[in-house]
Symmetry: C2
Subunit: 240 residues, 2 copies
């Protein structure tokens, strides 16, 4: 009932009928069924963003890597494990989306070989050969240049410069960047801070609980998405 | 209040005043602050075992790798990240424990080098050099041969034979083994099945919710622990 009440309060209608696709959580790249490579992510931020989009009236889909979090209310959740599975799930959903928000911490490399059975190893040293994973954000922007595409960037330094580089390199509309490796920000923490970087400038969102921060982020995205739509409509109008 | 009620119902007193040290969750071996090697584990089983021990009257300590789970009620929880940190935390607590239950999925290898900053990589292929981590279970049994030591084994095949090999190789009193990579068992699932292997034989615990299974496991451990104590007392008595 509290959940229902919160949903009422935050039901801004800013994204009524807009289709929002979100990725969340880590991906897990199997070495064998037990061991793997992963990026640090609890999934909390991606789940909060998907829930906030639904609250704002969006038809929200969440493609999630392995987490212990329950599916967010009123969000269609698709569970995947590896970066390649996440890439395939996103590509299967992307044609039916108006906004894409890539919050997942996707592993950029996977083991060249993955053993179907648990490997018994005794050696003191091992070498693991890795190959690059598909770039989900870049492929989304390539396949749907008209979509409003938001990427996340977890950085340990040069936050704004790296966020801006990511914006350009991947053809995104907005990058939400956070510093990691400090208390109260990123990973398992319940709070986070975000720097929003787009072609108009930089906006700082102060430290807040991930649920609150996700609502502010969705508000910022909704404003930019509708402004872009108006700009396109007006360009379209001028052409006639 | 429901938690309090459950604690009342399951307060068997079987482990009154007994000191139980449990490990749970995965460990995370940093490649850099964002990327790492890990073993699959949600932490649910280890947390349930620590909670069940406390319910049974034990003074329970949980050494946990990174999870999003809340600290179990009435359990002193020590949070760590890597296998080496878990090893140090266990060694700092082990002298004050009567029973050790190693549920954590400890990564057996870590990267030789760990970068303090996020690595920017563009190469199609990479090679990662790994080195063996300390063996927490073996070191517990070596340092405290008198302790009642329980290990977990996640296997994809030959469950009983591998559990028995682990029992002998690491000098444990009991191994709780489960098959992984099947629905309703291990990892992110809420249910699990366990095969208990010790020097007296093999006991199968049927599929159940991890909370229920943990209570049964703690009951089985408590029985064996007290029987061992009686055996030692009676040997001691015969000597006089």
């Amino acid at each position: 009932e509290l959940v229902g009440l919160a949903a009422e309060i935050f039901a801004t209608g800013e994204l009524d009928g807009v289709r929002v696709l979100v990725t969340g959580g880590p991906t897990w790249e199997a070495i064998d069924p037990v061991r793997g490579l992963t990026n640090r992510s609890s999934g909390k931020m991606g789940y909060a963003v998907a829930a906030a989009a639904a609250e704002a009236g969006a038809r929200a889909v969440l493609v999630s890597g392995p987490t212990t979090l329950p599916d967010p209310d009123r969000v269609r959740t698709v569970r995947v494990v590896s970066a390649r599975e996440m890439h395939d799930a996103v590509m299967a959903e992307i044609d039916a989306a108006d906004i894409f928000v890539g919050v997942a911490a996707v592993a950029d490399y996977r083991p060249v070989e993955s053993a179907p059975r648990k490997i018994k190893k005794e050696a003191e040293r091992l070498t693991l050969d890795l190959v690059r994973n598909p770039d989900i954000l870049a492929d989304v922007a390539k396949r749907r240049p008209d979509i409003y595409a938001v990427g996340f960037a977890a950085e340990t330094e040069d936050l704004e410069a790296r966020a801006r580089a990511k914006l350009e390199a991947k053809g995104l509309d907005l990058v939400a960047a956070n510093l990691v490796g400090r208390p109260g920000s990123g990973f398992e923490a319940d709070t986070n801070t975000l720097l929003l970087v787009d072609r108009r400038g930089t906006t700082e969102l102060a430290q807040a609980h991930k649920t609150a921060l996700a609502r502010i982020l969705i508000h910022e995205i909704a404003q930019r998405y509708h402004a872009q739509g108006r700009a396109q409509d007006s360009r379209h109008a001028h052409r006639h």
